[in-house]
C-alpha cells in the first residue's frame, strides 16, 4: 500500500463525520455506540500507520474499556432518572439531558 488509497480516504472522511454525530447527535445512547465504532475505526488508522502496538492499546482500552464504562454510566443515569421522569421511550426521548430538552 503505497501512497493514499481508498482505505485511507474512507477512514479520513468517515472519522470526522462520526465524531460530529457523536458530539451533536440527538440521542445520548446513539452517541455512545457511535463512539465505540469511532474507537474501532481509529484502531484501523493506527494499523495503517504501522503502529500495531498503539492499535492494540486503542482497541483494548480506548474502545473496549471506555465503551463499557460509558454504557455503565448511561445505565446508572437512567436508573436514577433523568430528572423529570420523561423517559418513556428509553434512550430516545429522555436521553438528551432530562430537564434540558433543548440539548
Amino acid at each position: 500500500m503505497t501512497g493514499v488509497g481508498m482505505f485511507d480516504v474512507l477512514l479520513a472522511v468517515v472519522l470526522p463525520v462520526l465524531a460530529w454525530w457523536v458530539v451533536a447527535g440527538p440521542d445520548l445512547f446513539r452517541s455512545v455506540v457511535l463512539f465505540i465504532v469511532f474507537g474501532l475505526l481509529l484502531a484501523l488508522v493506527w494499523v495503517r500507520l504501522r503502529a500495531p502496538d498503539v492499535a492494540l492499546a486503542e482497541a483494548a482500552i480506548g474502545a473496549g474499556l471506555t465503551g463499557a464504562l460509558l454504557l455503565d454510566t448511561l445505565g446508572r443515569l437512567r436508573a436514577e432518572g433523568w430528572g423529570t421522569g420523561d423517559d418513556q421511550r428509553g434512550s430516545d426521548a429522555g436521553a438528551s439531558g432530562g430537564e434540558h430538552p433543548s440539548v
Binding site: 480516504v9 470526522p16 465524531a19
Partner: protein, 102 residues
C-alpha cells in the same frame, strides 16, 4: 497528498469538532465524549508526524507518547465519569449550573 498530510488534516478536524462539542454541549457525558474525541485528534496528528513513508519504519517516540496518552485518557475518562455520577446523585441533573442557567 501522502498519508501523513491526510491524517494530520483528519486529526485537526477531529480536534476542532471535539472542541466545539466540549464548549457547546451542556450534558456532561457528551462533554466527556467530546474530550475523548479531542484527544484522538491530537493522537492522530502525533501519529502522522511519526510516519516516514511506506519504506522506512515509523518513528517510535511519538508512538510511545500516544500509547501513554491513551492510557491517561482512559483513566481521566473514568475519573470524569465518577465525578459525573456524583454530580448526578447530588443535584439530580447531569450538567453544570452555568450551562443550565442559560
Amino acid at each position: 497528498m501522502n498519508a501523513a498530510v491526510l491524517y494530520t488534516l483528519m486529526g485537526v478536524g477531529l480536534f476542532s469538532i471535539g472542541l466545539h462539542g466540549f464548549l457547546a454541549q451542556p450534558h456532561l457525558l457528551r462533554k466527556v465524549l467530546a474530550l475523548n474525541i479531542m484527544g484522538s485528534g491530537v493522537f492522530a496528528v502525533l501519529m502522522a508526524t511519526a510516519w516516514r513513508g511506506p519504506q522506512l519504519p515509523p518513528d517510535p517516540v511519538p508512538h510511545a507518547l500516544v500509547l501513554t496518552g491513551i492510557v491517561v485518557a482512559v483513566s481521566a475518562t473514568a475519573f470524569a465519569l465518577a465525578l459525573l455520577r456524583r454530580i448526578h446523585t447530588a443535584t439530580g441533573r447531569a450538567s453544570l449550573p452555568e450551562d443550565t442557567a442559560a
